[in-house]
Homo-oligomer: 377 residues x 4
């Protein structure tokens, strides 16, 4: 299909002085002629302002650590280095309508409690002392663990490590993922600080893991859960990795993603939250995938090993802790750099939004055995 706007069915009005005067009259009434912008606002296919970007953990980590010294957690609210897509700084977006950043908490620190309409998720990059309290439930999370803070849940978090003390110690750095730009685009943000500054813990630590962690068994009576998010608030790394390796025994996986699994709400099988979903995928030793594209934005984090992804023709080499993004409808494919070890990519996305609103599409790259041409640097 040729995408020319010079065809019957597209706007192609020849501008004249008379039309110019007409447009001025319309403008005075807060109106305008649709045909002057129709082709721009109804393009043939997605034209994201976001571009592929890689954030090197090796480069960012020193600056994240520097923040520990520069600002207190209480003054910053959260001590976070935000990741911005170059053309989307105005809306604080990392890609599309998603936001991500790297948060650091020093040993013994804790952040105050608040809640907001935006939903949040965490993926721990380093440090063993992290905890979070979500609506009263305390969770401990370690490297490569995934956790959620669903919208309007009270939450606070900290690092229980003691500097110079026994393990665990040292700072915690985790990746935040939020749908703040989406919430703002829809004029739906709300925010509250906790009236008591800090929550009181309810029940034992990790209670949702104990209760819902065996996803195929649920407490009898759990059909009384009517919230739109998963009752399971944390997804540890070990069973996730085991699930991927088990799945690899039974399936060749996806030609585009290797072995890929979605963190899901054990009571519905759906995504963990209504606006964002998260995946962990495993690329077997030596595996390289074919390209595909989807409607929706994705943010990847190299969780294990190293490799290369091609995103919209741009080569991105990654190793543990690196973060990169894939704009909507951009071709992307992945390769594990190792021929002996597997590699894992964590990612989160706004696919649940696309599905809920009827916007979901995906497509395989049709040519060249499924591989895009790579733009030379």
């Amino acid at each position: 299909m040729a995408y020319s706007d010079d065809v019957l069915g597209r706007a192609r009005v020849t501008e004249t002085a008379e039309l110019g005067a007409y447009y001025e009259q319309l403008a005075k009434l807060e109106a305008g002629a649709l045909w002057t912008i129709a082709n721009k606002i109804e393009p043939w296919y997605p034209q994201p302002q976001s571009v592929p970007v890689k954030w090197s953990y090796a480069e960012l980590r020193p600056l994240v650590l520097e923040a520990l010294r520069l600002v207190t957690g209480d003054d910053a609210g959260r001590r976070v280095v935000a990741l911005y897509n170059p053309q989307r700084r105005d809306i604080a977006a990392t890609v599309g309508l998603l936001y991500s950043g790297l948060q650091i908490m020093g040993p013994g620190e804790s952040m105050t409690a608040h809640r907001h309409q935006a939903a949040a998720l965490r993926f721990v990059i380093e440090g063993t002392g992290a905890w979070t309290i979500v609506d009263g439930q305390k969770l401990k999370v370690g490297p490569r663990d995934f956790a959620i803070t669903p919208n309007w849940t009270w939450h606070e978090h900290g690092n229980e490590g003691i500097e110079g003390g026994p393990d665990p110690a040292g700072p915690v750095i985790w990746q935040d993922g939020l749908d703040i730009p989406l919430v703002n685009a829809l004029d739906a943000p709300f925010y509250e600080v906790h009236p008591d500054v800090y929550q009181k813990q309810v029940g034992v630590t990790n209670s949702s893991l104990y209760t819902y962690g065996a996803g195929q068994l649920r407490p009898f009576g759990a059909d009384t859960w009517h919230k739109s998010h998963s009752p399971l608030l944390a997804y540890p790394w070990e069973p996730t990795y085991e699930a991927l390796r088990n799945a690899a025994k039974a399936s060749d996986g996806s030609p585009y993603d290797g072995i890929i699994m979605e963190y899901s709400n054990p009571l519905t099988g759906g995504s963990v939250m209504p606006t964002m979903s998260a995946h962990m995928q495993l690329l077997r030793a030596g595996e390289s995938t074919s390209a595909h594209r989807q409607v929706g934005s994705k943010i990847y984090t190299a969780a294990k090993g190293s490799g290369t992804s091609i995103v919209a023709g741009q080569r991105i080499d990654w190793t543990e802790g690196d973060i990169f993004c894939v704009p909507s409808w951009a071709w992307h494919e992945h390769a594990n750099a190792s021929t002996s070890d597997d590699a894992c990519l964590f990612s989160f996305n706004d696919f649940p939004v696309m599905r809920a609103l009827g916007f979901w599409r995906e497509e395989a790259y049709p040519d060249n055995d499924g591989h895009q041409p790579v733009t030379p640097n």
Copy 2:
């Protein structure tokens, strides 16, 4: 609740030269310090850039008619005067992420067929000759009728009137409503022109009305409909008005909206499309309502009678054909100007998006017997 940002739980870092240098380093890595914008991107409550606007039909109609002479339908694609919110011209939005415009078709005209990811709806303002073909199904619509063009359905339309001929004749002016800004904000637009320029009609005219028009009876076997939109594509005025008057016999209605009904998918009871819903509401003679607000944007059209609405403290007087908008979370209330006749307001909104994503809220105005203070002009 006081909304001060100078509290524990909000960002309140004192800027320093050292921090300034730090921010520059971050900027080079496509990053930034979250605390510098945290309060702005996570406000206490919605801060829409859209404002209340009224578009007077008496003022706009001459300009809309003028378009008939100035551009052909084929050149314009669609001959539409778009309605823009002052600060949202860049995204062609009427309010929030919704778009609306007034489309005109001369007697005997027809527009070519296309489809797009954006969903569309129509509310006929004047003229009796309008028809539309949606995925092969031809529908005829008259004044105050409501019709839908769900996303990615092929559609074309026209005006069967013959100038100077017998009734129906004269131009058709209908209001378009689309979710184009939403689709674009989510990087999800697609567009195709019909390969044959025009569709072939399938079946009898108004077939979905004949088949699904009695909403509480459905064809046996209709459980095979799996599309996300209503199989009923048009909702005529007469049964709508009768439904409102019947409902008034059984209920006092809503304190905020009088007698208000939602056009619904008869196979699911849900909204007609996954991104937009539409309402028709009846204000009884002399009725004035209390104020409330909702998360979501609304565009109103005065369908019958005249009255006054207060939106975010701004007084808007309306009569038939006038259009006005209510931004998200703006207080609004309505009054019928007549003490002898009822008045009707048509409106459409993005509430289904808010519900699907977990953003829905509504709230009654708590003070002054439910009435906002009105800003003097």
Copy 3:
């Protein structure tokens, strides 16, 4: 497929004296050898004990009227002539696990209020004075109207006609349909008499008709209805008949049923109640249909005109008021006796049960142009 039990895969144990002794030992422990009954309890296809039966209204009506004189409503609870399938009298079933009967109420009579786990539906055969109060809501119903009394709703009914007085007068005869045998088979019955003997009416008469009677428009906020049954409690004849005639303009209908529509819950598009659904179908002048069969039991009532149905090879001639049944998986087809007028059949069934439990199947009669051989009388 041949249905022989003398094949590998079916039980075919040769009985011996030793086995006989073994069976006796098992019997003492409340056990038995499955192979002795396996073929019987796992037949190749349904083997209903119910048979096709026709109940002639001309024959039954005098006896139903006689009941008026013989017993009072208060003594009888309800004054009903029950219709029994010959082999299912022990469970009071009309066909399968469905029950039906003809209830009569004299002018001025009213029955006391109760509720039960069984769901009920009504189809009015004759008389204009009938009313029912369901959970406080009063409904008036006339000939060919359909009404529901969902499970565990308080209900009472009566006939407001005054003997010798002005119209409406005369007795009301309506057909009851209940799932009593189903409820009992599942050991789930409950029953209560109303503590005040009679309910107090809430709101205006026919309020659910006023509120939900335009099925494709619903009161805004109706998404707060969470009951498993339709909020619309009565479905009058006139719009039903109009819906059938409209549908006939747009469709040839079903080859097995002519134009057939299902009474549905306007808030879900589903059946009116979770255990029973009801249909009204129209056979056009001269129309005769092909045979098909379904898993599920059906009870038909001739609502308009006259005709002939073939059920499991048995010819059933019907005229207004006649009732007949179709057992599960029995072939059936219908013909309108008139070449100038349409004919209508009301029916109700347990299809929602079959669908909910995964038992639903249907099949067209494959031979002889879709017509079964008819068993000579």
Copy 4:
């Protein structure tokens, strides 16, 4: 509430000779007077014909083993000792509309493949060599494992042990649970033998366990599963037991059931099949529960340890392998006999039917601190 039938609102017609003659006339027309049976078919509360029964494994096991010698698997179809409720032998029911039995397979045996409308489940009592193939998928199951054979899936099974050979060897005895009486009550049975007598295995053994065994992670794209049953076909004992012990860390469990979990479909959170659900519950050392009752039938198997249950006032002592049933609406409570070890009860039920049809109720025993009086033997 007193349950007397001699009240206004219940049928209480005095029989007379005239009525007797009337009843005879009705009988000739396949009809009857409802008031003669109304109170019987609409009782105040469930009156199951099923009674509590215990089947002692110690008593039954020798007879089950005896079947190995008496009949071949091919002749028997399946070599099963069925468990019958005394008054429900006519419909081959163990309790309510559920069936259960003990199936034995000798080392090296395999049963031919078939499918039927009835759904089946298995709970392994003893033996380590069992396998089953369900729609091509081979599963190996050991003691205390739970597996499902959803309705209309092809299935066959066997015991891979070799008599006199290395471990695994010896017979397998597993408990079957089927909804045969339910399927038959609804006139919905179908049955087919596999055209090739045996299925071909597809994929690796235990593939659904590898793919769906981590219930809170699902293969991306699993939203394409649209069957009404769980894609996970086997639920091994070890993670089940671990889930119960984990849940006990976070919750005191149910006052009626101790720590109780439901085997669930990881893609929906619902029951494993639409007609039957299964539970495993853990009674902590020394735990005894309060009594409650539910609408629905249950069959229990002592999976670990020993204890006592009181069912409808009847004391049932159980130890591993014993089976007992709880009729609908019967009070029941459980006690672990050990003060040092936990005990586990497996059970399956027809609760999904009750929920789907709107019949579900449950109730706590109100008196005597929640404990029923026990009927002396």
